[in-house]
């Protein structure tokens, strides 16, 4: 039980994928202009990341290791992630066309979100079990969702405040992201895994 809590805490706060590992920055900046879009993106990434980390663990253990094909790891994982993203794209287009419109190009770009491939490869490198790799994937996605939604909220407030012309838009967004990253460094002493 403690181990589960530690893995989640480590993935969500201490080793946050966006703010301490600097993975998945593109959707972090791209889909954070509105909180609604950020929430939609978070759920899509959560779905893809959790399933991708479990599916890639299964493929690694039951296909690649028995056949001694570990060198095909990357291409197999990319295939898994691309299929999952295609699947969720169809699902969102059917169930919520407004969200589909809001996410736009960033939805198919989850395929190239390095955080998704990163969590799959880190799971293999750290020799996690099935349960812990699923948890690690889920925790990483929750961490991504947390900072994305926080950042979108900050950007919405900045949008309506009187900001010097020079800093409007992207410059201030980048400064805000940097400050959030500094704040998240404070978690680094919390646990060591």
């Amino acid at each position: 039980m403690t181990e589960i809590a530690l893995i989640l805490l480590s993935a969500v706060l201490v080793n946050n994928f966006v703010l301490t590992k600097f993975l998945g920055i593109c959707p972090f900046l791209g889909t954070s202009s509105k909180v609604e879009t950020a929430v939609g993106m978070s759920f899509a990434v959560m779905f893809v990341m959790t399933l991708a980390s479990t599916a890639s663990w299964l493929v690694q253990q039951y296909v690649l290791i028995p056949l001694q094909l570990e060198y095909l790891q990357t291409i197999f994982f990319i295939l898994i992630i691309a299929s999952l993203v295609q699947f969720i794209e169809m699902m969102i287009h059917k169930t919520s066309p407004v969200l589909y419109q809001g996410l736009g190009i960033f939805l198919p770009l989850i395929t190239t979100n390095c955080a998704v491939l990163g969590v799959a490869i880190l799971n293999v490198q750290q020799e996690q079990t099935f349960l812990t790799s699923a948890l690690y994937g889920f925790g990483a996605a929750v961490g991504f969702a947390l900072v994305l939604i926080l950042f979108a909220g900050l950007r919405e407030r900045i949008e309506v405040s009187p900001v010097p012309e020079l800093f409007k838009g992207s410059p201030l967004a980048l400064i805000t992201a940097g400050m959030m990253s500094l704040a998240f460094m404070g978690f680094s002493g919390l646990v060591k895994i």
């Binding site: 056949l67 295609q86 699947f87 699902m91 287009h93």
Partner: protein, 194 residues
């Protein structure tokens, strides 16, 4: 050699399985056309007036859904519809065009009207009443100011007037909040120093 065969076979099999799953998902989640078109079409006033530059409300909603048209072209819908569409599309609201800001109204000069009924057929919202060989007149409450009746009139007896503001529709202007005022002052301050 067998290693290479295994690699090819396993990767091929895996790709095939994911392909089949995606093909099934495509069938399950199949959609006809773009659902955004229907959502935008439902917001539009359905006057088919063509003032947006498209032949009707449906073609305009198609153009908006595919991002070919701006959200601010619907004149009868005014600012309310523009804000709703902008919210739905997730884009920034745009000012309505200046000429559309003053609502217009069609007016039939009755002593010149010959009762030809051509304008009645042209009116998309059935706001013109009258019968053959009788004077026609415009129901001001229903007229959207689309100007479609002006063209068919053989004696040019239809004028477009600026819609008078009715006392029932008048309201006090919204108060400027303190916060907005401070923002304005600060911006003016910055501008004067720049």
């Amino acid at each position: 050699m067998t290693g290479l065969l295994y690699a090819l076979a396993s990767f091929g099999a895996f790709a095939l399985v994911s392909g089949i799953i995606l093909a099934i998902a495509q069938k399950v989640f199949h959609i006809d056309g773009d659902p955004m078109v229907d959502k935008i079409d439902a917001l539009l006033p359905q006057t088919q007036c063509g003032q947006c530059g498209y032949p009707g409300c449906k073609p305009y909603s198609e153009a908006v859904a595919s991002s070919q048209a701006e959200v601010n072209h619907c004149v009868p819908g005014g600012e309310r519809v523009m804000l709703q569409i902008a919210d739905l599309m997730g884009v920034e609201p745009k000012e309505l065009e200046a000429e559309a800001a003053a609502p217009m109204l069609a007016f039939v000069r009755e002593d010149e009207c010959i009762g030809c009924t051509l304008c009645i057929k042209a009116c998309p919202v059935d706001a013109i009443i009258g019968a053959p060989k009788q004077y026609h007149t415009v129901v001001a409450d229903h007229c959207t100011g689309c100007t479609l009746c002006v063209e068919p009139c053989p004696v040019d007896c239809i004028d477009m007037l600026v819609k008078p503001e009715l006392i029932e529709h008048w309201s006090w202007p919204l108060p400027e909040t303190k916060r907005a005022q401070q923002g304005h002052e600060r911006r003016d301050h910055h501008a004067s120093h720049a």
